[in-house]
């Protein structure tokens, strides 16, 4: 589904190489985790895949179901089914949470040539999904992420994911800023979305999220490359030995 080949990326402003040849393939129905120390390039990878400005791809490819992601705009990537759950969801005063989600869903549907949902149809859809994530009507009415707690923001990200039903979900440090209960709720939301035709790339610094979202494959990223790949046991090794131990072993 998602294929990344020899991806090199640098920061435009600082002329600094961040990704130095990433190779990764995520198949339909799979959950992959990317772990790595701070500054290894994990978040950059997620931003580049989603199409954030400020990064220059100097070499390599990234495709989703064979479509060249790097050649198209962020909104086109979203319409193809790519979704990035942000590490820091953005607060936008003046844009209602519901309005935002409906605009997004209908923009994607329109781009795919599907019929748009009217307000009533959308409300019915979103209410059902919100309930399982413990998101109340008041949170849906508020301006987008404004005044949300850390946990509420992350639950709202998962709600967007549930509403938009993407094929390829990237979760960037979704566990950061969450207490155990919030993390369980978020993980349950993600697990509920696991499906044969949907894949996940879970980026995390700590192993603890992976206790709740069990990955099929774990990659360790360091200095802009994936240096080791294994099963769920690799995450446990990180927990026990730290990145230093693993990176030494890999070297």
């Amino acid at each position: 589904m998602l294929k990344i080949g020899n991806l090199h990326v640098r920061l435009e402003e600082e002329d600094k190489a961040i990704l130095k040849g990433v190779d990764l393939a995520v198949g339909a129905g799979e959950v992959h985790a990317i772990m790595g120390p701070n500054g290894s390039g994990k978040s950059t990878l997620s931003y580049v895949l989603a199409g954030r400005e400020g990064y220059e791809v100097t070499e390599g490819t990234a495709t989703l179901d064979g479509h060249d992601l790097l050649a198209i705009e962020p909104e086109e990537r979203a319409a193809l089914g790519l979704f990035l759950a942000f590490q820091y969801p953005v607060e936008i005063p003046g844009v209602g949470n519901l309005t935002f989600m409906r605009t997004a869903l209908n923009a994607q549907r329109k781009a795919r040539g599907e019929a748009e949902l009217n307000a009533a149809e959308f409300l019915k859809l979103v209410r059902a999904k919100a309930k399982t994530l413990d998101i109340d009507a008041e949170m849906l009415k508020r301006p987008l992420n404004v005044g949300f707690s850390g946990g509420e923001k992350k639950r709202n990200e998962i709600l967007q994911m549930a509403v938009l039903e993407p094929r390829m979900c990237i979760l960037d440090e979704t566990d950061s800023g969450l207490d155990v209960d919030a993390m369980k709720l978020v993980a349950a939301g993600v697990n509920a979305l696991r499906a044969k035709d949907r894949a996940f790339l879970v980026i995390t610094h700590y192993q603890r999220l992976l206790d709740h979202i069990t990955p099929d494959v774990v990659h360790i990223m360091a200095d802009g490359r994936i240096v080791q790949t294994g099963g769920p046991e690799l995450a446990l090794e990180v927990e026990t030995n730290g990145y230093a131990g693993i990176l030494q072993g890999a070297a």
Binding site: E53, P74, E75, P93, G94
Partner: protein, 434 residues
């Protein structure tokens, strides 16, 4: 009070004489009205016409507001249905600046009297005597407002509204245009007696050049809501001034939405004379290319425990210019004043400009006053967040523009009016896509 002695250059003095000579003095009025006009003409003659060198005209060249004759401005076919059209209101219509009785609604109802200005000024004993030229005259210090004095001296069209209770429905002033040359002066007098309540709406393309002044007296416990839309006439040049004097525990809320227009200068001069009153003056504008929009506000706190808010948001692109000159003056003894001032510009490209001059002048020690002024581009992170969810870039930008302006629109209390204003903005953005 005598005008302070100062040396004026011949250009300002000759300019004032030319402004007064360009229009006939209205005739057949009551002695008190005549006296008010003579006094205003004297104020203008002594203080001179505005010129760019004047402190409060540095950012906005007044030449096109004073030159004779006014530049013509095309009468555009309406781009959309007139704003507030579906609303149940007392409608007062002016065509090219002239009251149109056959297009206007019946003039009175319990709690409210509406009459043409000319009628009020021709009546020997009339409440308007306490208002006409009085607030404008008080508003000349410490900053000259010569175009408002000109209006007192010469404007013969407008409306006088007195409200003695809660008005049963809003008063809606509608400006229509037929002529591309219309050089129009309008003067409205609004008096709210103690405890009265009125919503005053203004809209429509008034003239190629407009000089419109409102004097509003809001007595103890009364509330005046003023909502205005300026738009639909791309080449308009307009000077407006709204003088408001507020009694104890009264409320004055004024909001202006501005589209288009080559030059628009909106002044508000607000004076608190009774304790515990509130004044919120707000505005939102969107401008593209040949567009200058100037909000000049002066709020004087001369009472205890009053709250004033100024919230102005401007979205500018293609060389459009925004100006904000906002002042809060807290006089000695005006303790427990709560003054707030916000001026923000969203600059959609590098050619747009926002010029801001926020001022606080405080002579009391137990007050809370703050101001903020920012100008910046669309937030890249917010735009990426929206586009990453599938919202096309242009739509995302429009959402962010609306979100930016919403803080000013939120100052309008009535939800129905807010919805209407938002719809107008969405319409304008849709028609002006690049």
């Amino acid at each position: 009070m005598a005008a302070p002695a100062r040396k004026l250059d011949a250009r300002k003095l000759d300019g004032a004489a030319a402004l007064l000579a360009a229009r006939p003095e209205p005739a057949g009025e009551a002695p008190w009205a005549r006296a008010a006009r003579v006094a205003a003409a004297r104020r203008l003659a002594e203080r001179g016409a505005p010129v760019r060198r004047d402190e409060y005209w540095r950012f906005t060249d007044p030449a096109s507001l004073t030159v004779q004759p006014a530049a013509a401005a095309a009468v555009l076919a309406a781009e959309e249905a007139p704003v507030f059209d579906g609303l149940d209101a007392f409608k007062v219509v002016f065509v090219d600046g002239v009251y149109a009785p056959d297009l206007s609604d019946a003039a009175s109802a319990p709690g409210i009297e509406i009459e043409p200005l000319a009628h009020a000024l021709a009546t020997d004993i009339h409440w308007a005597r306490e208002l006409f030229g009085v607030l404008e005259g008080r508003g000349q210090d410490p900053v000259d407002r010569p175009l408002a004095s000109l209006n007192t001296a010469r404007a013969s069209e407008g409306v006088a509204i007195r409200v003695t209770a809660r008005a049963p429905k809003p008063v809606r002033l509608v400006y229509l245009r037929r002529s591309a040359e219309a050089d129009v002066m309008l003067r409205h007098l609004v008096r709210l007696d103690a405890g009265a309540d009125l919503t005053l709406l203004e809209s429509g393309p008034a003239a190629a050049r407009l000089n419109a002044v409102v004097e509003a007296e809001v007595a103890d416990g009364a509330a005046l809501h003023h909502v205005r839309v300026q738009g639909r006439d791309r080449e308009r040049r307009a000077f407006t001034a709204c003088f408001a004097r507020l009694g104890a525990s009264s409320a004055f809320k004024s909001f202006t939405l501005t589209f288009n227009g080559r030059l628009t200068r909106n002044e508000h001069v607000v004076e608190f004379t009774g304790d515990d009153a509130i004044a919120h003056v707000a505005g939102a504008c969107v401008g593209d290319s040949d567009f200058l929009h100037d909000d000049t506000i002066f709020v004087t706190h001369d009472a205890v425990g009053c709250e004033s808010r100024q919230v102005f948001k401007k979205v500018l692109r293609g060389g459009a210019v925004g100006v904000f000159q906002g002042k809060i003056l807290v006089k000695p003894g005006a303790q427990k004043t709560d003054g707030y001032q916000l001026s923000q510009g969203l600059l959609l490209d590098e050619t747009a400009q926002l010029l801001a001059k926020p001022e606080l002048e405080i002579y009391a020690d137990d007050v809370k006053c703050s101001h903020g002024s920012t100008a910046g581009a669309v937030d890249e992170t917010a735009r990426f967040y929206l586009t990453s969810r599938g919202i096309p870039r242009r739509e995302a930008e429009e959402l962010l523009v609306l979100a930016f302006l919403d803080e000013a629109i939120a100052e309008v209390e009535d939800e129905g009016l807010r919805t209407e204003l938002r719809a107008r903005l969405e319409g304008w953005l849709a028609r002006h896509r690049r």
